[in-house]
């Protein structure tokens, strides 16, 4: 039954395929904010809400603890309630949040974090370095089952605490109420963002805490106490989450007294925005949706790049794919431009590097872009010893070049299957797509039961996150191993200095292009809109809409 909306999308895709050759150059919406043309069109029902701003959210699940939520929607909720020690700016660079400043020792292993003075939780209790140390200790608890993997920060003594050999994490030292010193065992570019997350109140969450017992803490998932721009009021499952402005917020009380997340979904979130039921929501970045938003007149439209990328992973344990030439041929032989045009209709780009174009690490100079070139693909396959057989499929040592492609059901893959099948047929490769649900795909991949697997990364906050999967220990499943890649990944992760990291990643991307572990597919853009009756929404992928909340104001 759930496939009904999908068949809709397939129909849309089919029509898009027909028109894809037209190009989209004429009236493509520019990245950034396109202001509303006619603020007088704001629906009357929205104008009645003089102290409340309502934003759409898809599927919150009610776990309002920043270290325990399971899906990203709950993260959007906790971002409203909890502020971070260290924030990101719109390019993904780290900037001070609750932490006023930080210093890193020359060997890159010791972090000294200085908090802003007079920080308070929303109940007025003080926020000190003790609370930060408590938060990081909980992450090392043997019973901790949340999404944050603190072991990647390599805090000294963390493993001992987890295994019960020590009663505290020795690498966490509270110097004074405003200063925390974190000692790690190895340098890491992503360490600061791991230890610089939201802060849990020790007085509130830590009552009676002992190692191995998080039961009490879990009972507070529905009663969060934070220090973000808004304070949690109420959650009505499947309907809404209410907040009021935090008078103790360190950047000043937000100008809008009340904020509500209302549960919406892509099938009717446009109608809800149109009738004024919501003031802000995210939409699919397709020309039709953008046109509709423009017609409303009262929509401030915001288009921004996402930080993830989609890819097809090679299984290098398959003899055919061990040869880099075969992998290169499979990239040359796939018309990725056509795929991206069909799927994103002008609001996506072909991925050239395992990082989004919005990142500071993005630099395609000298990196092979693998422009669609079937002749080159055929040549490479010939060189690799795969000769065309009688039925047009290439053969080597009596084996046909047949590849299974694992995909899950989504719009990108709906287009990928026919395009890839046809393109690969032309270079003598028989593609056998297999559609399974996402979990099954991942488990089949883990079992090594695939040749090619298509999926997307999650949101990437640091270029390290985009390449970590290609490190030999992490890529053990797909069997990718390249000593040069490992070395460059380590180097890129060894320093926090962006100017030093840039050339390392640039070099890494060149090496990865020549010995590709994946076929990079695309980077997408995200569309959101806010009503002209509110100002201050300027979302980006690193901060979402919550980064704007301290500034969102209702126009009088």
């Amino acid at each position: 039954m759930a496939t009904v909306p999908n068949s809709f999308k397939i129909a849309l895709l089919a029509s898009a395929v027909m028109f894809s050759s037209f190009g989209f150059a004429d009236d493509v919406l520019k990245e950034g904010i396109t202001p509303a043309t006619d603020a007088s069109q704001v629906p009357a029902s929205a104008k009645l809400r003089t102290d409340t701003v309502i934003a759409g959210i898809s599927e919150p699940q009610g776990i309002f603890n920043p270290y325990f939520f399971v899906n990203g929607w709950d993260e959007n909720v906790t971002n409203v309630i909890f502020a971070r020690l260290v924030d990101w700016d719109s390019q993904g660079k780290l900037v001070p949040g609750l932490a006023e400043s930080w210093t890193v020792s020359p060997d890159g292993k010791t972090y000294t974090i200085k908090l802003r003075p007079n920080l308070k939780f929303s109940d007025g209790s003080p926020l000190t370095a003790e609370d930060v140390a408590f938060t990081l200790t909980v992450l090392y608890d043997p019973k901790y089952d949340g999404d944050t993997d603190i072991t990647l920060a390599h805090i000294a003594g963390g493993d001992d605490y987890k295994q019960g050999k020590a009663d505290s994490v020795s690498g966490l030292k509270v110097v004074d109420p405003l200063t925390l010193q974190v000692t790690t065992t190895q340098p890491g570019a992503t360490t600061l963002q791991k230890i610089g997350g939201p802060v849990l109140s020790k007085a509130y969450y830590g009552k009676g805490y002992q190692r191995g017992n998080l039961d009490y803490l879990r009972t507070l998932h529905g009663k969060p106490l934070g220090n973000g721009p808004y304070v949690y009021d109420k959650y009505i499952p499947g309907q809404e989450i209410r907040f009021h402005a935090n008078t103790n917020y360190y950047r000043g009380v937000p100008p809008t007294p009340r904020f509500i997340y209302r549960v919406t979904n892509p099938s009717t979130n446009f109608q809800l925005f149109q009738t004024g039921d919501t003031d802000y929501d995210a939409f699919t970045s397709r020309p039709d949706d953008i046109e509709q938003l423009k017609l409303l007149g009262f929509a401030n439209i915001n288009l921004y790049g996402s930080s993830d990328y989609s890819k097809i992973e090679f299984n290098l344990k398959r003899p055919a794919l061990q040869d880099a030439k075969v992998r290169q041929a499979l990239i040359y032989g796939l018309d990725r431009q056509k795929l991206i045009d069909v799927v994103y209709q002008g609001y996506g780009t072909v991925a050239i590097e395992p990082i989004s174009p919005i990142s500071w690490a993005y630099n395609t100079e000298g990196v092979n872009p693998y422009k669609f070139d079937p002749a080159q693909a055929k040549k490479l396959l010939d060189e690799a010893g795969w000769k065309t057989g009688s039925d047009g499929i290439r053969v080597k040592d009596g084996k046909r070049l047949e590849l299974t492609l694992l995909v899950s059901k989504k719009v990108l893959n709906d287009a990928l299957i026919p395009i890839a099948k046809e393109d690969y047929q032309k270079i003598g490769v028989l593609l056998k797509p297999q559609v399974v649900d996402f979990n099954a795909l991942m488990s089949q991949r883990k079992a090594g039961n695939y040749d090619l697997a298509s999926f997307s990364t999650s949101t990437l906050n640091d270029p390290h996150d985009g390449v970590w999967d290609f490190y030999s220990t992490e890529a053990a499943v797909q069997g990718y191993h390249n000593a040069e890649v490992d070395k460059l990944i380590n180097e890129g992760n060894a320093t926090l200095d962006i100017e030093k990291r840039k050339p390392i990643y640039h070099e890494l991307y060149k090496v990865l292009a020549n010995d590709p572990p994946v076929i990079l597919l695309g980077n997408r853009k995200i569309l959101s809109a806010s009503s002209a009756r509110v100002t201050g929404f300027k979302p980006d992928i690193y901060n979402g809409l919550t980064g704007s909340l301290p500034d969102v104001k209702i126009v009088k």
């Binding site: 990647l152 499947g238 309907q239 009738t275």
Partner: protein
């Protein structure tokens, strides 16, 4: 009668065990588990988490563990919602129940009335018009019908809300709350009634037509009874017999949630829970919810049997 009910109740016990085993195997054997879908985890962390959730245990001990908890009335703890499954279901199924019950009363009423009238005058103009209207309503894709209703009545006319169950941010209680919920109910109820009334009307009509052709109806008419009495007293009661079975089947549907309708109208029902927990492999919820529906199905059948026996002495006596 009491023996009959007792025997049927006893029969449900092995059925429930079988259902629990089947449900467990079905979901446990589905490829992928709760941890597999998370691509950000390192291999080491994934193994740690699997151990924490007991997903590394052999199937049989996982089943016995689950069954043991079940027998103590514990449905388990949701992996992705982090609350007990019973509490989770409690948050959503009553909303589904409200929507489904109101829709059911309406479409059963409509189907009953329309079915009888068109059976009394088969192949008349009324009968034909009803058939056409019913088939038209039934043939709408759910998704499209819901969006069409929203466009007409919510976006263009502003008569009714687009979706949800109450006004966002409203603190209404008592009568004001009831009125708000009622306003939000109208469109989803209309959609469900339009989609469901059709097939049921056809059942009623067919069942009535079968009965009115029988000898005892001719006898009743020959006795000189009024047509009203013939139809409503003699024909209807007999025509309702096969329909009782259908009524029993409706029971699980009252709680399971109408997936598409609830989604499009943002109704906070249980429909999406099942799909979401399947996608996430949230086993406790999947198994708990499915078992709950299985119990309702068995119960619905039992009720249907009892009603059937009550309405038709032949069945009572034979059993």
């Amino acid at each position: 009668m009491r023996n009959f009910i007792l025997r049927r109740l006893l029969q449900t016990i092995p059925m429930l065990f079988l259902a629990s085993l089947l449900i467990f195997m079905l979901f446990a054997k589905t490829p992928g588990d709760f941890i597999d879908g998370n691509i950000t985890l390192t291999a080491q962390r994934a193994a740690e988490l699997k151990a924490l959730y007991g997903l590394d245990q052999p199937l049989i001990s996982r089943y016995l563990h689950w069954l043991g908890n079940l027998l103590q009335g514990d449905l388990g703890f949701s992996l992705q919602y982090q609350i007990p499954v019973s509490q989770l279901l409690n948050q959503y199924i009553w909303n589904s129940f409200l929507l489904a019950t109101i829709a059911m009363v309406l479409y059963w009423g409509i189907a009953l009335a329309v079915g009888i009238v068109s059976a009394m005058k088969p192949y008349s103009l009324f009968d034909h018009v009803v058939s056409v209207v019913i088939f038209a309503a039934m043939s709408f894709p759910t998704f499209f019908l819901c969006l069409l209703l929203i466009k007409w009545f919510a976006v263009d006319l502003h008569w009714l809300p687009v979706g949800g169950m109450t006004n966002t941010g409203s603190d209404a209680t008592g009568w004001a709350w009831v009125m708000q919920v009622a306003a939000h109910l109208v469109l989803p109820v209309v959609a469900l009634v339009m989609l469901q009334a059709g097939s049921l009307t056809r059942y009623f009509r067919a069942s009535m037509l079968d009965v009115v052709r029988m000898d005892f109806i001719r006898t009743a008419r020959a006795k000189g009874l009024r047509e009203r009495t013939v139809i409503l007293k003699h024909a209807l009661r007999n025509a309702l017999l096969p329909i009782i079975t259908l009524l029993g089947f409706e029971l699980p549907g009252l709680f399971s949630g109408a997936l598409i309708t609830e989604k499009v109208f943002n109704w906070p029902g249980a429909g999406h829970i099942h799909i979401d927990s399947l996608a996430a492999r949230d086993y406790p919820v999947l198994m708990g919810f499915t078992l709950f529906l299985a119990v309702l199905t068995i119960l619905g059948n039992l009720i249907a049997d009892v009603l059937y026996a009550w309405a038709d002495p032949r069945i009572r006596v034979r059993s």
